[in-house]
Symmetry: C2
């Protein structure tokens, strides 16, 4: 059967909100979604900071006029169809919990990786709920929560000279239709492909694998991603 | 800098032992190493069973005459330079502990994935030591323990019509020289490439990721593996 992108829904009209859109990962995803023609809302606790970052991204070559604006997290959650959580792990629980109401009924994409760093490099942090996305799912019982975009390289996303990003976006989730929407969104970014990679209980190792990619990057001086073969 | 296979050692003279060589994963690896021209010893608790499986593999097309023999686990550990642990997780601790003496000073490659299965599919089991390979490292303080070959597809390995296996073998370990030997061994199998992927404390997610590959295989009807991009 293999992978068949033609079965994915048309997501070109969806508005994508990025909570934590002023950080490196969120900013890079916002740029790529805006480049692809999605309407993008950048969220931050500080609405004026979000607006400033949205203006910076809007000024980058190839971003359609009016395609990206910024606002407070609440406003962005309310105004978006799909909401990406891209905050630092330290602020994850509090930020997600505070947005439970505006995120009701929405597709929520958690791309947060709970990692620690010491002199031996990166390592996966223990998360009582199992993973960041399971913590989010517990806090957002009325949202459609997936994990995805955990392995994007922020420097590659941010670099306007890079047009193709060689990455299979691994998606974990319980809601097959939501996974399809997220897979279609991933496929809007040239080079990316969204691949269903299991239920939320198997998301921990996807998040934690980012520590391995960082270790690989350090050893080989690269900006690595992953591809699933035979698909 | 990127990936440079020319820096890897020549391992063509090394004897590779496979503990649990009568199971699907071990048998498949034994076949591929023998095809590649390594001397291979298949180990089992039951030496006569190991000898029978070695004879079956020796009869497959392309396997050099005399390249593969079978024996008891102790004998195989003693007679090999590199020893692959490919036993079921249930027998991992007891089997490894019993081989501490013959494995002294050897490179030990653990490819065991602690997984459970229920009606929702595969999931990662909690391991008190963190991972199978960390359990092995604790039991084998005088061995050079790495994790590798966790993501090989047993059906692909076993299929003599498949000549190229599209897989980056992710290797975790503390001993850089041992990692290099294991990377070189992986590179002996056409299509495979051995990639350093972090320290042993980051092996859990490599083992657990096998649950995701199984979930992907079920969804897309494929025999998937992984490739690291930008290397």
């Amino acid at each position: 059967m293999g992978y068949d992108a033609s079965t994915l829904p048309d997501v070109s009209d969806l508005t994508v909100g990025i909570i934590g859109g002023t950080g490196d990962q969120g900013r890079g995803l916002a740029y790529r979604f805006a480049l692809a023609g999605q309407r993008v809302l950048i969220g931050s606790r500080d609405a004026s900071r979000a607006a400033a970052v949205a203006e910076e991204i809007a000024a980058l070559p190839g971003v359609p006029a009016g395609g990206i604006t910024g606002g407070g997290n609440d406003q962005v959650a309310t105004g978006s169809d799909v909401v990406v959580i891209a905050v630092p792990w330290e602020g994850h629980e509090a930020t997600v919990a505070a947005l439970a109401d505006p995120l009701r009924g929405k597709i929520v994409v958690d791309c947060v990786n709970p990692l620690g760093f010491d002199k031996q490099g990166p390592y996966a942090l223990a998360v009582p709920e199992g993973s960041a996305v399971q913590q989010a799912a517990g806090l957002l019982p009325e949202s459609r929560v997936c994990a995805a975009f955990n392995h994007v390289s922020a420097p590659l996303l941010a670099d306007p000279t890079i047009e193709w990003i060689d990455l299979d976006v691994l998606i974990c989730g319980e809601d097959r239709e939501a996974v399809g929407v997220v897979a279609a969104l991933a496929g809007r970014i040239p080079g990316m492909r969204g691949v269903y990679a299991g239920r939320l209980r198997n998301a921990h190792q996807i998040e934690a694998f980012t520590a391995n990619l960082i270790a690989i990057n350090r050893r080989y001086k690269a900006h690595t991603g992953v591809r699933v073969t035979d698909l």
